[in-house]
Symmetry: C2
Subunit: 314 residues, 2 copies
C-alpha cells in the first residue's frame, strides 16, 4: 500500500480537500443571516464563533466522518454536515479549555485565543453557542432525510461529548494536575491515563467514525469494525500527541512542547516510557488496519489515516 | 375561573407535584452509575452538576411541558423527560451566567453558586455537561418512541437555546451593560429590550410549550396556539421579573432587588415606565388566555399558569 488512493489522488490531497470543503461549510453555517426561529445573530458572538472555528486545523475529525461514510457510499454532502457538527464541538472544547480558569492559554494555532482576542464572557458564550449549534446541525434534514439516522447521530454525539466522554475527561485531566487537592499532582497509572485520554480525546475521534457508519446505515458487523478502528485511532492519536510533546520541535508543532512533563501530567510516555509508547503506537496502527479487514481495498484510505495520525509531526 | 382545576387540586398543588416529580427524575438522570458508552461519571463533575440542578426552583419550565403535553393527552412520563432536559439547559445557563466573567454572582437561591462552592473550571464544565446531557435525554426512546418526535424536540431546543436564542440573548445583555465598549451603557429602546428578553428568557419558556405540542403531535393550528401562548407567557414572565426588581422585597424575592436599575439595565420598566409595564402585563395575560381559546376548558391550567407568572412575588 502506498499513499496513492484508488481515485489517483494522494492521501494528503484527500485530507486537504475535506478541509477545504469543511471550511466553506463552516463559513456558511456561521453566516450573519438568522435562520427561522432565530431572532438575531449578535455580531460579536458570531465573530467570536468564527474566530474559534475558521481558518485552521487539519480537520481530521470531519475527514474521519467523510471517509467512513464513503465506505458505505453515503453522500459526501451529508457526511460534511455531520463533520461540521463534530468540528464545532471540537472547537468549542478548545475555546473553553483555553480559558484562564482552565489551561490559561494565550495562543492557539499561532493566533490569540478567544478570551484574549475578545474577553472571557464572549469566549464562554461562543463555546456554548458552538456546542448548541452542533446539535442544531445534526437535527437538520440536510444532514440526513431519515429522522432515525439523525437522532442516532444526536445520541452518539451527546454521549461522546458529555459527562461520560469529553467533558468528563477534561474534568479528570484537571484533577490529575492537582487542581482540586491543594496542588497535589496525582500519580497516574497506565489504566488511569488511558481512561482519561479515551474520554478527553478518544471519544470525539471515535464518534467521527461512528457517524460515518450511522450515516451509511452500516450493518452491526460493519459498525463494530468501524467502532473498533475509531477506538484504536483515538488511542494512537493521543500517544502521537504525547510523543510530539516530548520529541517535537515547538516551531513545527505550532505550540509549546515539553509542557506536559513540566505540569507533571500523566501521559502515555510517562507511564509507558518513550520506547514503550512507540511500540504501543506501532501495535495500534497494525490493529487498526486489521479492524478494517472486512472492507478490503475500500478500507485503504482509513488505514492511511491511522498511519498519518501516528506519524504526524504537527 | 378559580384556581381549582378539574382534578379537584389547586393550581399550586399541581405545580408542586411537577416540581417533586422533576426533582426525582433529575436525581435519577444524575445518578453515579455510567450509562452505555460513558466511560466514567467523574465524581466532582457530578457533584457540581447536582449542586447546580437539584433542590431548588419552582420548575416552571418542566411544568409548562407537562401541562401543554396534557392538552394532547401525551403521557406524563415523557413530558417529564423533555421537561428535565429543558430544566438542565436552564440550570447550565444559570451556572455560566453566575461566573465571575459574566454576572459574578456568589449566591443563587440562598446557596453558593457553583464557582464559589467548587471553582470556575468545575462550574464551566458542569454547565457544558448539563447542556450536552439535555440533548442526550431528548435522544432517548424513554422521551418518545418516535424518532421524528425526538428529533423535532432536539431541533426546537437547539434553536431556542443557541446563538439566535438564549446564548445570543445573554450576549446582547452583556453588550447592553456596556461590557465591550469601554463601559458605555447602551440606551435601549423598547424594541431592543423586547428582542433581548425574547432571546434570553422567552425562547426557553416558549420551548417548554412547544415541547408539549411536539410530544402530543399537535395539529398545526394547535401548535400555533401553543406557540403564541408560550411567546406571550415569556414576555409576561420577564415583565413580572422586572417589576419584582423594582417593587419586590429582597427577602421575599430571594435575591437582591434594585440591581437592574443600579446596572443601568434596559428593562421593560425602564422603557415602558412602571404603569406602562403593569398595563402591558395585564394585556399579555388576557392575550395568552385568548390564545388558548381553541382548547376550551382544557386550557384552564395554562391560563392559571399565565396569571401565576404575572402575579408571582418570588
Amino acid at each position: 500500500m502506498n499513499d496513492v488512493t484508488d481515485a489517483g489522488t494522494t492521501f494528503r490531497q484527500r485530507l486537504d480537500q475535506v478541509a477545504a470543503d469543511t471550511e466553506r461549510l463552516l463559513e456558511r453555517l456561521l453566516a450573519a443571516t438568522p435562520l427561522p426561529d432565530e431572532r438575531a445573530r449578535p455580531q460579536r458572538l458570531m465573530d467570536a464563533m468564527r474566530h474559534v472555528s475558521l481558518g485552521g486545523g487539519k480537520r481530521l475529525r470531519p475527514f474521519l466522518v467523510v471517509e467512513t461514510a464513503a465506505l458505505f457510499k453515503a453522500p459526501r454532502e451529508r457526511a460534511l454536515m455531520a463533520g461540521a457538527a463534530l468540528e464545532f464541538v471540537h472547537c468549542y472544547s478548545l475555546a473553553h479549555d483555553d480559558l484562564p480558569a482552565m489551561d490559561n492559554d494565550d495562543l492557539r494555532r499561532g493566533r490569540p485565543t478567544a478570551h484574549k482576542k475578545y474577553d472571557e464572557a464572549t469566549a464562554i458564550l461562543a463555546g456554548d453557542g458552538l456546542l448548541t449549534l452542533a446539535f442544531d446541525i445534526l437535527a437538520r434534514e440536510e444532514t440526513h432525510p431519515s429522522a432515525a439516522v439523525r437522532i442516532a447521530l444526536v445520541a452518539a454525539l451527546a454521549r461522546a461529548a458529555g459527562l461520560g466522554g469529553m467533558v468528563g475527561g477534561q474534568m479528570l485531566d484537571l484533577a490529575a494536575e492537582g487542581r482540586f487537592d491543594g496542588g497535589t499532582v496525582q500519580t497516574l497509572d497506565a489504566a488511569h491515563v488511558k481512561l482519561l485520554q479515551t474520554m478527553k480525546t478518544g471519544a470525539l475521534l471515535r464518534f467521527g467514525c461512528l457517524a460515518g457508519a450511522i450515516l451509511g446505515e452500516a450493518t452491526p458487523a460493519q459498525r463494530d469494525a468501524v467502532d473498533r478502528y475509531g477506538t484504536l485511532l483515538g488511542e494512537a492519536f493521543q500517544i502521537a500527541d504525547d510523543l510530539l510533546d516530548v520529541e517535537g520541535d515547538a516551531a513545527t508543532v505550532g505550540k509549546a512542547t515539553g509542557k506536559d512533563a513540566a505540569l507533571g501530567k500523566g501521559t502515555f510516555v510517562s507511564v509507558l516510557g518513550l520506547g514503550g509508547a512507540k511500540a504501543r503506537l506501532t501495535q495500534l496502527v497494525a490493529e487498526s488496519e486489521t479492524a478494517l479487514g472486512i472492507f478490503g481495498r475500500d478500507g485503504d484510505v482509513l488505514k492511511m489515516a491511522a498511519r498519518f495520525v501516528a506519524e504526524r509531526k504537527t
